[in-house]
């Protein structure tokens, strides 16, 4: 007993086939889009992998690339079958493959669902990776002579300039870290010696930030040093001064950038799921319509297909 039977004459069948063929090719384009978004996401992660301690998970972009390629393949095959379904001779050679194809499509839809879910859930992991990576980044800022960390300073400076942020949580993170290397400290100077001695771990700490924290939109030239000392600068109150340096932390800035990217990609994948479910028409012969009736998970069009459309 077919589910939701509909009568089709030849003209309607042709129109249905054409419409479905268009939808299949639209799905191929969406598949290409997902593939390129996966590549874009992977490149963005690679660009800033130093900020994440080279520890970031590439699961989501790899999955997106895989899903994109699969979408192209599956939908191109579906389009070909749809195109051939109006011709009984050509269609005869596709008939045996249809059942496995249906199962493949089901599996593919489950994979899509999993990808969308991961897009939203991996953001938590991303947040933790960023926190850890930035903390280490700030710690190794001064080590421009250590192999493997030579470019940490440059990367962190460029990140702070590009994302308009300073430090991990905020600019005070720089006060807890020695970011000037000992090579550039005059150890014979009394002031320097005092400061080193006054610290338990022998670190040269000060209430200053690097130049990359400076806000170009500030009306006065940037004040980098002695930030908590009002008397060190003329007409300066550190409690009310907002424009001098960036107040936002880099973890928050980077996270909001990546999470918005992942949210948009996740939304696109969910939209693709809906599209895939709609476009599950399966050409069926009169013999097989009973078989399709049992696979009634898919949408309306599928059922239209089985009882009439291509049963020539």
């Amino acid at each position: 007993m077919p589910f939701m039977p509909v009568k089709f004459n030849l003209q309607k069948r042709v129109k249905l086939a054409q419409g479905l063929w268009m939808l299949y090719w639209l799905s191929v384009i969406v598949g290409i889009l997902i593939f390129s978004l996966g590549i874009f996401f992977k490149i963005e992660l690679r660009k800033r992998s130093e900020m994440m301690d080279n520890n970031e998970s590439h699961l989501v972009p790899n999955l997106l690339i895989l899903v994109g390629v699969l979408a192209c393949g599956v939908n191109a095959f579906g389009g070909k079958v749809c195109h051939d379904s109006l011709d009984p001779i050509k269609f005869a050679k596709w008939k045996p493959m249809l059942k496995p194809y249906m199962l493949l499509c089901c599996g593919f839809n489950v994979l899509l669902l999993l990808t969308a879910l991961l897009c939203f859930l991996m953001q938590f992991a991303m947040y933790l990776t960023l926190a850890e990576g930035l903390k280490n980044g700030i710690k190794f800022y001064k080590d421009t002579d250590t192999p493997g960390r030579c470019f940490m300073k440059r990367t962190l400076d460029m990140t702070q300039i590009e994302f308009r942020c300073c430090g991990n949580n905020n600019f005070r993170d720089w006060f807890e870290v020695q970011w000037i290397s000992n090579r550039y400290l005059d150890m014979s100077n009394d002031e320097v010696k005092d400061r080193l001695l006054s610290n338990v771990e022998g670190k040269y700490l000060m209430d200053s930030v690097p130049f990359s924290c400076c806000n170009p939109g500030s009306p006065r030239p940037c004040l980098q040093h002695h930030l908590t000392n009002n008397s060190a600068h003329y007409d300066y109150d550190h409690r009310t001064e907002e424009l001098n340096i960036w107040t936002r932390g880099c973890r928050e800035a980077l996270f909001s950038y990546y999470s918005s990217m992942m949210n948009s990609i996740g939304a696109l994948v969910i939209a693709t799921i809906f599209l895939e479910v709609r476009v599950r028409p399966q050409p069926a012969s009169a013999n097989q319509h009973r078989a399709w009736a049992t696979l009634s998970l898919k949408g309306t069009v599928q059922h239209l297909g089985k009882s009439s459309c291509f049963s020539l």
């Binding site: 440059r154 970011w179 090579r183 005059d186 130049f211 009306p219 030239p221 940037c222």
Partner: protein, 368 residues
Amino acid sequence: MAVGKVTFTKAEREKLAEVLWLLNWISVVTGAILFGLGLFLKIEIQKWQEVMSDQGILYVPHMLITTGLAACCINFLGGKICLDCADTNKFLRWKLVMMPYVVCTFFFTSCVLVGALMCYSIRSQLEESLFLGLRNAMRYYKDTDTPGRCYLKRTLDLLQIQFHCCGNTGYRDWFQVQWISNRYLDMTSSTVVDRLRSNVEGKYLMDGVPFSCCSTFSPRPCIQQQVSNSSAHFNYDQQSQQLNLWRRGCRQTLLDHYTGIMQSIGLTVLLIWLFELLVLTGVRYLQTAMENVLRLGDPESESDGWILENSLAETARSNFNIIKNLGKCYQIDDDPNINVPTATAEQEVPSQQVQIPVTSIASRLRSH
């Protein structure tokens, strides 16, 4: 003696019309590309307009935008005309428009060429504009409270950060300018007062640079103050000095940036110009071929097409005469009532031989 004379059969004419229709539609696309290039250039220039002293450079993108739009319209019309030209009957509709259309397209094509050449010739004007603009921007860097100059500091800082440059010619330009406003100088401090007094114009000059001159590639934290004094900082050797700040001047950097963009745009516009010239030549051949067909009266016959009916010199001369005679349009030189002596001297009857019988006329009048 016609210039570029080619004979066309009917089939060839129809093929030419079809090909030209297609080429015209491609030209519409290239016109849109031209428009897009002009728009892109305009946006790029406007991004850093504050550091350019004169806006004359905006002629280039405006020219490209207008020619792009004109290209779309003219070639759209051309496509329509060429499609109709395949058939002699439909051509009659366009007969009167064709010549003005060809002349118009010729002028428009030369505008495209002018646009392309402008892209290459604007460099010296741009350099001058950038020199003055950057000099003023550095002078007004500190005036963040003056209306009209509030954002000059931010623009200049962002420019130096993005283009990795410092100052006009180099970082030393900042030593000659007071870039810290008096609002942020403690006038009660003796060091400040000394420095102000030691300068002739009362400016607070120092060998320091703004933070945006700092190089991100330097291995050590940025040294902004007392840049030229190597003993003021520990371990401040030659290499540290080289890597510390951006070495290039912003004028040279911006000049290179814009010259690069405009050279690529200029090349593309030149290619578009060559294409338009090709289309124009085709349309001219089609026009002359169709007109000759009408003149011969037989739509199936072969006809000649050319670029110019007579040689270049003759055409120039006849056009020049037309223009000359245009000025004389209000002079009456064909009026038959004016006695213009056109006859030769022998045919003239001397006035002494003509004796008008005045007395006979007078007597006749008296008798009535």
